[in-house]
Amino acid sequence: MPTRVITVTSGKGGVGKTTATANLGVALSELGNRVVVIDADIGLRNLDVVMGLQNRIIYDIVDLVEGRCRLRQALIRDRTTSELYLLPAAQSRDKTAISPADMIRVCEQLRGACDFILIDSPAGIEAGFRNAIAGADEFVLLTTPDAASVQDVDRVLGILENEGHDDLFLMINRIRPDLVQRGEMLSPAEVLRTLAIDLIGIIPETEAILVSNNKGTPIARDKSSLPGKAYINTARRLLGQDVRFLPILEGKKGIWERFGSLFLDR
């Protein structure tokens, strides 16, 4: 199978790109894939923290593109998941330290050596975003169920579509089933209506995610947790499997069932 290069992006900040990248990386490698995650947020690196690898960084992506190390030296193997590697960003530089051409070169070097390359994009649509999308063929668009975040993803989609990309997947993060049911949060169906691309994941908002981020142990490792299951399912859909959406509202005939039927109708 040829290496799939996927950038996780959102336009807006704070929707959970870094968390989603780390967890998708864990989930994909748990499902037997060799995965490299790249932190493209140079100057504000976080992916290492969420993965609990910050104290193992010796070289970073800027060292790599400026020739101070070889690719193998810059890759950090995950603590628990053996087929997961991190290529960290530099913290002391900024977005101008690398170019889209550098990014393409790094991805080309990694192609063939792994099944997935996941790139964590910085917020915005400027230089850092340009770097993050340069080497990718597929995109996971991450949104939270609120109008501002959805509108920013819509903007990013316009940019990507203009450049001829059509492998675009949607993930909805931080959904609060109780709020959706009371009609105080956009429902997945409404988000999907606006963005009109393939939905591959819905991640509920739970305290467990905040805690696991802080501890540097991505929630996807805990397969018994609700968000853990949701991430594994998302990874399965990314692999092309047909997986039904979880009924996250236990015991109630709520939005998920209705949404499920809406999704199957498409």
Partner: protein, 236 residues
């Protein structure tokens, strides 16, 4: 023969004007001309002026090839002729009407045309563009004729038309019909939930707390100094 082909530099690039004579002869003349002075024009964007001449697609693509051999790009065709316009459209070239000529013609008339005010309906009536996709946030569709969108217009997207705007889908963004001053322009959509509607110099935004409704097609027009939105089936 030098009179039949002229090359002029303008702010936008080069304008090549073809006069009378066989198209193939003119091409040869142009080729020679460019061979001697070619380096001067290299990389230039070319607008072709052919007046009333009917230029077939085949001929136009020959010219396109010739220009690209000299490192130039044919971008625009200035013509009123139907055949030429069709050929330019087929090759995806930008098409503009000869403005200067038209102005000259109206001046010749004993009774000058009505003063330039709001652009009249007739001018853009036959022209329009069809957009067969969703218009996303940040995207702007702007056209001097009518604009028809087959798909949704999302919040943050802008549609501006010299004429009417028809959205076969949901209108959630901003639409400005008659932006050159035509107050008779209309905006209609299958689902009308715009951020803002504009017709000519009128601006309207929806009520703060619109009563929730099942979407039905609606049409917006300027009436009595403001924009009125009505259900589609109530209006002719």
């Amino acid at each position: 023969m030098a009179d039949s082909v002229s090359i002029k530099g303008t702010r936008e690039g080069l304008t090549i004007t073809f006069g009378n004579g066989e198209f193939s002869t003119l091409l040869k003349d142009l080729d020679q001309h460019l061979a001697t002075r070619g380096a001067f024009f290299r990389g230039g964007r070319v607008a072709l002026q052919v007046g009333e001449r009917a230029v077939e697609e085949e001929e136009l693509s020959q010219l396109q090839k010739l220009l690209s051999n000299h490192g130039m790009i044919l971008r625009t065709v200035v013509s009123e002729n139907g055949v030429t316009q069709k050929a330019s459209n087929a090759l995806g070239l930008r098409l503009i009407a000869p403005e200067g000529d038209q102005a000259a013609k109206t001046q010749e008339k004993p009774n000058p045309a009505p003063p330039r005010g709001p652009a009249s309906r007739q001018q853009g009536e036959s022209r329009g563009i069809l957009i067969r996709r969703m218009v996303r946030s940040g995207q702007v569709i702007r056209h001097t004729g009518h604009v028809v969108i087959l798909g949704d217009v999302n919040a943050g997207a802008t549609i501006a038309a010299g004429g009417d705007i028809v959205v076969w889908g949901g209108l959630y963004g901003t639409a400005h019909a008659g932006f050159m001053g035509d107050r008779s322009a209309i905006i209609c959509a299958l689902e009308m939930f715009p951020l803002q509607l504009r017709i000519a110099d009128f601006i309207a935004r929806p009520e703060e707390n619109p009563p929730s409704k099942n979407p039905y097609p609606e049409i917006a027009r300027a009436r009595g100094g403001r924009i009125v939105v009505e259900q589609w089936n109530k209006t002719p």
